[in-house]
Amino acid sequence: MAAVDPDPAARPVNAAPPRIATLVLRIGLWLVPSFAAWYLTARFHGVAAGEAAHALMAILKPGLVSALERQGSDLVFVTTLLVHPAPGETGVLVTEVNPLLYTYGLPLFVALMLATRASGWRIAAGAALLVPFQAWGIAFDLLAQVGIRAGPAVSVQAGLAGWPSEAIALAYQAGSLLFPALVPVFLWGGFNRPLIAALAGSRQRGAGYASEQTARAAAPRIGSSPRSQQ
């Protein structure tokens, strides 16, 4: 039986880091299928981010959200806040959040990792690490709707008037403008420290990149047959 290589990154590679032009080309090529897969599977990966946001809301503002529902790929948070859409009518405030606004970093991360031939487990680990930041964006989108955009009557009822609304605004800006695109790139950097050190031009660091690649290539593979290791 042929040995299965579980880690493509462990294949023997040149010690020199890839040219940046080559890296950019690979990233561009991987972005297309990554974004397509992300968009087509939005109903599924949105569940993880939505449930994590629901759990985060239970910490940030216990009792504010009574249920999380789905409408297509959108997340629908049913709150416990009472609203009066017309005289004599009373209902609960329901807010919708588009999770794609906070999860588009996932295909970016996958494209970056595939461009540097990362292993599947590293991609999966990075994708899992993205979820709390996606949840942050979704939760503070919801809080911004309740605490700021829905008006003073709702924000007072929610207990979010005053300084909490200022904190929500700042957290919402970070969750929508910084985290979605920045965190995937930062994680990619964390997974590719030897590559970055080699690009930095330090002889010592470059040697570190080369030695790590060599060590990976020489290390026994999990799942390899004894014959394949000889």
Binding site: I20, L31, Y104, F186, R193, I196, A200, R203
Partner: protein
Amino acid sequence: MARFAIVFAVVLAALFAAELTPPVQSAFVVPWTAGLVRLSAGLIGLFDPHVATLGKILLSTTNGFAISIEAGCNGVEAALILVAAMLAFPAPWRHRALGILAGLMAVQALNVVRVVSLFYLGQWNVAAFEWAHYYLWQALIMVDVLVVWLLWIRTLPRAR
């Protein structure tokens, strides 16, 4: 890595918080955004005379389609990330200054491409505009920041 992460986070948090304050918004962000709109309109005007500007709004005089350049689309956040990354990475100050100057130009150049492309994409198809606006261009701008930073660290002098 730990030192880089801490310095990067602190510098970025400080720059981002400062950017959101009213004085910085009125003194820098709003004029910057208006300048970006005028630059984009000037470039569009080279091949399409049916464009007008109004503050941060870019308007087609042919069909009335307009886009408003808001936070996240003016390239300021991408610039802050690049500046924080260059300040956090060990490098001589001269290289940092040159890197920030050249890097900001590269990021803003691609941002102008984003604005112009979205202006025409929106006139063609609103769904395509929203997809490109909310998801694709955000990712591409960040890739641009990453590539500029990688190119910059490659130009740094070797450690002795």
